[in-house]
Symmetry: C4
Subunit: 258 residues, 4 copies
């Protein structure tokens, strides 16, 4: 079989489309953001991408129907005739080997290059190792113009973070994208790294919608964030009780979970 | 060498054949079921499939003769002129890497597609983590029609199981089969996951024979199941004795083995 | 680069050559035997085989000269005009992945097939987990004729060993060799599995030389075996002293090393 | 995508160029040496080499600009019309699998072969497991002529080191280089193996510059070495204090760090 199998669902012409990627990763921030954007924009499925670089796995839905793990590319038409269209990539897994990462990313870039994509937004989480009440959005980009643009939207470009660079699809799309002549940015929402983080996804998505001038209602994502807060709070309380020593030492240690 | 080498043993025309897969896996349920079906139907070898995605290994039989590990495809003609034929896949191992799983599955699908297969039955075990006296058969399928059909034969479609989907050949045949336009079902016999389970294989096979209207004598499989029961019982007794504490606590813990 | 690179050293015509394989493995029995045979028959280098399925490594000799790890194929002409020629394969490593094992074995089979090889002898060790004073030679073969022939030369065909089959090159050459229409046998010298075992290699080689009617002086191999004996004896004595408890329990445990 | 992607930056004619390799490895000795040589000779970028055999990673610089991990090939013209030119290979990682090592090395050799390279210098560290005040440079080569030449420049050819041969790019370039008809040497600076070692890199580079008659100012490398010395000294002192027992035993153990 081919390493990567692309099944097109329909035939479309897109207007100077922007590519947005959000695959599973740290805190699932990128995936949460891209999936939410796709739902709110009622984006339509354009291509399903199967690959031997994904796990040999099917998911089974509540009715008992199987679905092979895949990447999925959606498109959303811009509001007016002059607004740019969007291509949004989501999926069940990142490629499960370094070679698979390269191959999958390259094939998707080839595909979206064919639709005229010249600009990439990749969405990810940045693990801080402690709970972040108000997550900042860190950035990395392919050009100084883009760095300056994003700074205006509150994106933080740190001299030290991410120190080891970006590992995985979000970085690779930018790195390989340049070999296609594409420019782009990676937006990383701060997150603890301990659980899925809709609040961080919201922070990332707010930047995306501002920069691309999209109208998105964030209430559902906020509801999700509050639900996670409640769960974390309960864990926090349970752990505080079980370690309620006179010194209170352990309580402090756990402070970062609440 | 080619990644997958298919050696055809004979040339046959098959009548609307149904494909049944049972490779090694949880409790060896799928393999036990498919091998038993093949023996009882006196199915004939149609193809031997070697691959670099299987271990570099030969088996040696009691006489000292070697045999390279492989997948084997058998066929059984239907009883009357109108009964559908069967293609049954067994083998020594599943592919030993994710890529190998995809490649082997794809090549077998290509092969059976050439014989006109449009319907797949994949057989597997579902690990419950505790002994199941009367194993149920869980199902997953490619369409609601098939889900409804199987429910009539007592197959359970759980809203929660299998939660993480199906990993390995049984799921992949369904997932990749759809790219060949094939429909299918996976039948998973409940099993502890701690030993090979002929009783679970029997439960699975009873569904298969009912749905496909096949006549199979289950007495040999039942004999095997009783043999395993005896072995498990002996282990249980030995462990109960060695932990015969006044509280009997450990005895209860082990209850699930008997 | 090509997966497997074969560099021919000279151009030869061979008379119905027999192929003998001995690569590193359990107790290094196969390699010791094949290398010794090659030296004593003054076999000449015919081909060097490099591969990306071998480690990325060079060896450095005592003078400081590097040599890329490889497989090497040697040939030895038969004594009279009617005696069959020999092809002997040695090497630094077996292929370092299952795929690499298949690919390397297949390419060597292709190569020796071109020289007219129809018969394979693969040499290996069989780990018993305890010291064997007088190692037997176990066998496996591709046909009953060969099983019967080898039994006459004292080779043991056990109903139970090797229970899990043969893993690695020695088995794979037989298994894949059949797809080239070749017949063959694997000769496995019993060995502890704890150290390199020239005595086991000698046992294996004595069968090979008897069956193929070759004249080989075993004195150098016997000298090596005695050297290993001396080293093992010293370790044994040192360990016995350090565990010289009144019960002598540990002494017995170590008996298998001497 | 192609396994290895080579992007040429400019078109040059080179005069009998010598190839110098220094990729990350033990003590980062090779990389430190090659990078320093490149900077001091103001070598120019000739080719960027991307590959799926490198990690799926981008680095982010202080300004926030991403760069895909790669190998980079630089060239430096010789001082006079008769002095040979240089090709210097550096990079972020060695290939991350054995196959990747072979493939990357082979492709670079193909590339530099096209520029007329007949001679290779590969630079590496040799881990001694203890601090070496005045690191020696060990050698390995493809011919006795080169061994003799290097001995005159103080390179040590040990009968025992490196016992297990050379694993990785520095050895592989020599091993595969021979299949291109190239000769070469590997220069290994002794190093502890516990931290990056500019002093060892300096020792290696002094041999290179002597043999190739290059003028290089070593003061920056010496400054780096002293900085590492200071850090090591501080660690040493801290550890000595914390283990300042009457017997002074632990102090001695740590002596090798200072």
């Amino acid at each position: 079989m081919e390493d990567v199998v692309i099944r097109l669902t329909e035939k479309v012409q897109l207007n100077d489309p922007v590519f947005v990627e959000g695959l599973p990763g740290v805190g699932n921030v990128g995936k949460l953001a891209a999936d939410y954007l796709r739902e709110k924009l009622q984006a339509k499925l354009l291509a399903t991408i199967y690959s031997k670089f994904l796990p040999p796995q099917v998911y089974v839905n509540e009715e008992g129907i199987v679905r092979l793990v895949a990447h999925e590319l959606y498109y959303a038409k811009g509001k007016g005739p002059k607004q740019r269209d969007l291509l949004i990539l989501g999926g069940d897994y990142q490629g499960i080997s370094p070679e698979g990462q390269y191959e999958l990313t390259h094939r998707v870039l080839e595909l979206v290059h064919g639709y005229g994509v010249k600009e990439l937004y990749t969405l990810a989480g940045f693990a801080q190792g402690h709970v972040v009440e108000t997550p900042k959005v860190l950035g990395a980009a392919t050009s100084m113009e883009r760095v300056e643009l994003l700074k205006k939207h509150g994106v933080v470009f740190s001299r030290t973070d991410p120190g080891g660079g970006l590992i995985g699809a979000s970085g690779l799309f930018l790195g390989l994208g340049r070999t296609f002549g594409m420019e782009g940015v990676c937006l990383m929402g701060e997150t603890s790294g301990y659980f899925v983080d809709p609040r961080s996804a919201e922070a990332v998505l707010k930047v995306v919608t501002q920069v691309l001038d999209l109208q998105v209602d964030f209430s559902d994502l906020e509801a999700k964030a509050k639900e996670i807060d409640r769960i974390a709070q309960k864990i926090h309380e349970a752990e505080s009780r079980s370690s309620d020593t006179p010194t209170g030492e352990r309580r402090d240690d756990l402070g970062y979970i609440g």
